[in-house]
């Protein structure tokens, strides 16, 4: 496991849209260990130490030359602070944390469903799947976003990986399918096939994906979010209800930072 805490240097801050940023950090010790689906706790506080608590972000990409990326939307104080970081700034990170996605060891059909910022960890997942020794039969990526500008860059990045198909849905219809990303699944997935599904995004979307997979008996892994104080399983604040079937079947709650953030969809109580 051995996660670590230390100062990392900001190498780049790309503005994807007005409020979506991609930060590239020099963090070799974390990048080296990072697995897709894991996250980092980032200190996003000003000189007065506020906001107090670190903010969790999925690892968007980790490279062999020690670079680590996070992709995020500015929605509050912490993310607004991070959006203003400049190359050369130092950020304190703790990570890599949590359990990531489990990659199939046998060739299979893979379906990735991302919504909004939930797309962040899925890029690293796709990259690892493509670079693994297992040659998968098909990799289909479905991305949902509010509007075209929020997804264009990522759509291109995924497509640029090669060896996979990318389909997009937007709330306003400005690109791709006009509607929910989950509406794309039935027309684009061979229903007779057996798919390994990975999903991250807004809770209702993952819930829909999970029940879609339950109905077809497809294996599904989801990456969940909660508010977190520590990210290192010390505060027990990140509890979610478990289904009572999974990892800790005798316990009513699972902890996102330790048991997750990636869970088998069947382990989670979808309320």
């Amino acid at each position: 496991m051995t996660a670590i805490k230390f100062g990392t240097e900001v190498l780049r801050n790309e503005k994807i849209t007005d409020d979506i940023c991609r930060l590239t950090l020099l963090a070799p010790a974390i990048a080296e260990k990072a697995r897709p689906g894991q996250f980092v706790m980032v200190k996003a506080s000003d000189d007065f130490g506020l906001p107090l608590l670190r903010r969790p972000f999925s690892i968007h990409q980790a490279t062999t030359d020690g670079q680590l990326q996070i992709l995020f939307k500015s929605i509050g104080r912490g993310t607004a602070f991070l959006a203003k970081r400049q190359p050369g700034d130092i950020l304190s990170l703790v990570g890599p944390l949590g359990k990531g996605f489990t990659l199939p060891s046998q060739p299979t059909n893979i379906c990735i469903v991302g919504g909004g910022m939930g797309t962040a960890p899925l890029f690293y997942l796709a990259k690892k799947l493509l670079r693994s020794n297992t040659e998968h039969k098909a990799i289909k990526v479905f991305l949902g976003a509010a509007t075209a500008s929020e997804i264009k860059v990522l759509q291109n990045d995924f497509a640029g990986l090669g060896g996979l198909t990318v389909l997009v849905a937007t709330d306003d219809g400005s690109t791709g399918h006009h509607g929910l990303v989950t509406e794309l699944l039935t027309d684009n997935l061979d229903q007779a096939g057996n798919w390994q599904v990975y999903s991250c995004g807004p809770h209702p979307m993952m819930k829909a994906v999970a029940s879609y997979c339950f109905a077809r008996n497809w294996s599904c892994q989801v990456s969940l979010e909660t508010l977190m104080a520590c990210g290192i399983s010390a505060c027990l604040g990140c509890a979610i209800r478990g289904s009572g079937q999974g990892v800790d079947s005798n316990k009513p709650y699972l902890h996102v930072c330790k048991d997750g953030p990636v869970f088998a969809a069947g382990d989670v109580a979808w309320e």
Binding site: V94, M228, L236, A239, I240
Partner: protein, 308 residues
């Protein structure tokens, strides 16, 4: 002599710590969670997550929310229970060699005293810290810690069942903190620690809902430091037994302020969640301070607040 001895502190009941910095219950797991971030052997003491007789599942989510300069938590005392603690958590803690202080909680006097008895025979425990901020189920759920009569009773019954030093951890949710402090002292407490979290609520004005499922949570972090300092000062002046200061300690300066106010030692809480190596940083800082001051012992600054 050297630096090592100069940081030693007595915290009552015959317990001596190598330095005055401990980690507060509920913010440091069972110790092992922090092994990657700091040297556990350097800590003055480790106070583990509150333990009950039976495992407790804790409260429904959301359990935490950040507030101005602090956080509210309603974890609901989730813990593994005393049996699991003894078999699964103690072996690791014993190996470190740092004094282990076990925080206990219960919903009746019997539960507290049964816990005290069980812990008494587990090897490697240095003291018991009694969390009396829990609701007394038999008395309509009013917290033990708000009623001096109950505080004395809980203290007496825990003391009667263990030979370990007993620290009573006071609730700040009272009108007169010196009344509960004196009650603990009268009951035979070896040490008093304070403060536990202050009760609070966070509200989402758009949904008009509380941000915590439990509605009420406990406030911790820098926001509570002035309240904690005031209470530590009042209690240190009201009792003869040693006092441990807790509440919003983030830095060496914060820790020293508590000692000047009258605390023989301190516990670092929420800061562990923010920076898991905070406690070790503060130990370094206290060491530097003692050297700079050229004093024989850090204990020389305890209770030296000048009010003239």
């Amino acid at each position: 002599m050297g630096i090592d001895n100069s940081l030693k502190v007595d915290i009552g009941g015959g317990l001596q710590l190598k330095n005055p910095i401990m980690t507060a219950s509920g913010t440091f797991g069972y110790g092992s969670e922090f092994a990657d971030y700091l040297d556990l052997q350097r800590l003055g003491g480790i106070v583990v997550k509150g333990i009950s007789l039976q495992p407790r599942p804790g409260n429904p989510p959301p359990r935490i929310v950040e507030t101005s300069c602090g956080m509210l938590n309603a974890i609901g005392l989730e813990n593994v229970g005393v049996e699991n603690f003894s078999s699964a958590k103690m072996p690791f803690l014993r190996k470190i060699g740092t004094p282990v202080i076990v925080n206990i909680l219960g919903d009746s006097i019997e539960e507290y005293s049964e816990l005290a008895e069980k812990l008494n025979v587990i090897e490697g425990i240095s003291a018991i810290e009694v969390n009396i901020s829990c609701p007394n189920v038999k008395k309509g759920g009013v917290a033990f810690g708000t009623d001096p009569v109950m505080v004395k009773k809980v203290t007496e019954s825990v003391k009667a069942r263990t030979s370990l030093p007993v620290i009573i951890k006071l609730s700040p949710n009272v009108t007169d903190i010196t009344a509960t402090a004196r009650a603990a002292e009268d009951g035979g407490a070896d040490t008093i620690s304070l403060i536990n979290t202050l009760m609070g609520i966070a509200i989402d004005h758009r949904t008009r809902r509380p941000k915590l499922a439990n509605i009420i949570g406990g406030l911790s972090g820098p926001a509570i430091k002035p309240v904690a300092l005031r209470m530590v000062w009042q209690v240190a002046n009201a009792v003869k037994i040693p006092v441990i200061g807790i509440g919003g300690i983030m830095s060496t300066e914060d820790a020293l302020e508590f000692m000047v106010a009258g605390a023989s030692a301190v516990q670092v809480g929420t800061a562990n969640l923010v920076d898991p190596d905070t406690a070790e940083r503060i130990i370094d800082g206290i060491g530097d301070f003692v050297e700079e001051l050229g004093c024989q012992s850090i204990q020389e600054i305890v209770g030296t607040l000048r009010t003239d």
